[in-house]
């Protein structure tokens, strides 16, 4: 892994770092770039912000109505059919 990486390469590593622990060389190269590049630092913060927003939104999903009575009945019938066989 080279030490000096471009913004484009940094965004790929910043994205990957959200999914797994980067190997040492990549981690160091990314941190060094982020330390001096305000654009990439901001980009990385925004990716994390986006993840947080999705999480909040997924949780807010509890306000969405659940199964309709019809769907619930249909599923209950299917389960009963299977239980009876």
């Amino acid at each position: 892994m080279k030490w000096r990486i471009t913004c484009k390469e940094t965004t790929a590593l910043a994205s990957r770092a959200m999914d797994e622990r980067l190997p040492f060389g990549e981690r160091v190269a990314m941190r060094m770039h982020l330390a001096i590049c305000t654009n990439c630092a901001r980009f990385t913060r925004q990716l994390h912000e986006m993840r947080r927003l999705f999480k909040v939104e997924t949780e807010a999903n509890d306000a969405v109505p659940g199964l309709t009575p019809e769907a619930r009945q249909r599923i209950a019938n299917e389960l009963q059919n299977k239980l009876d066989t």
Binding site: Q46, L67, R74, L79
Partner: protein
């Protein structure tokens, strides 16, 4: 937990709504989400002998649901395109100069507080996610909405970790860009 206490109708009563919301969030369709809940409960019924009772029923049902959601998404997108498709590549390239530096500076994001701002943002997240290319949408949604680990996603979709990272990288670049173009940049935080 003995087999006698496993009551599928109770699963439906206690967890049906929860499973439905989880599925609907990822499948964007009431009908598909209902199917996923039904398939989950039927599969749970068949597999109940394997339910050791060491996880809560909800955790166990959610694990099954996850597979049903992946199946449903798979049916929607026949093949995961290997990320070599020119569109995605060009879209990424257009954000950067030849030398790999940003073509445009990153603008700061606003910090939505009011209910109206938040609901607008929610709509924007959904709209931008809907505009992702199918292969990207699939991986992005499994990762960011379902919260699955990439290793699990790769296994489920039969793609390599590298393809997974490329798809996620492109999806995130696109999503960030989409949010910004839709006005989610204001003077302020982030």
């Amino acid at each position: 937990m003995s087999l006698n206490t496993l009551d599928p109708q109770r699963w439906l009563a206690d967890h049906g709504d929860y499973l439905f919301r989880v599925a609907r969030r990822q499948l964007h369709s009431d009908a598909l989400a209902e199917d996923a809940v039904q398939e989950t409960l039927l599969a749970a019924l068949s597999a109940q002998a394997r339910y050791a009772g060491d996880a809560s029923p909800r955790t166990w049902l959610c694990a099954i649901l996850k597979h049903k959601i992946v199946d449903a998404i798979r049916r929607q997108v026949r093949e995961v395109e290997i990320p070599r498709d020119a569109d995605g590549e060009e879209a990424v390239d257009s954000l950067f100069k030849q030398d790999g530096h940003w073509a445009e500076p990153m603008r700061p994001w606003g910090n939505p507080h009011t209910e109206a701002e938040l609901s607008q943002l929610r709509r924007m997240l959904d709209e931008c996610a809907d505009r992702l290319k199918p292969a990207m949408a699939q991986v992005f949604s499994l990762r960011e909405v379902a919260g699955m680990e990439t290793e699990e996603i790769c296994k489920e979709l039969g793609i390599t970790p590298t393809n997974c990272w490329v798809l996620l990288h492109r999806a995130r670049l696109f999503m960030r860009q989409c949010l910004e173009l839709n006005g989610f940049s204001k003077a302020g935080a982030a």
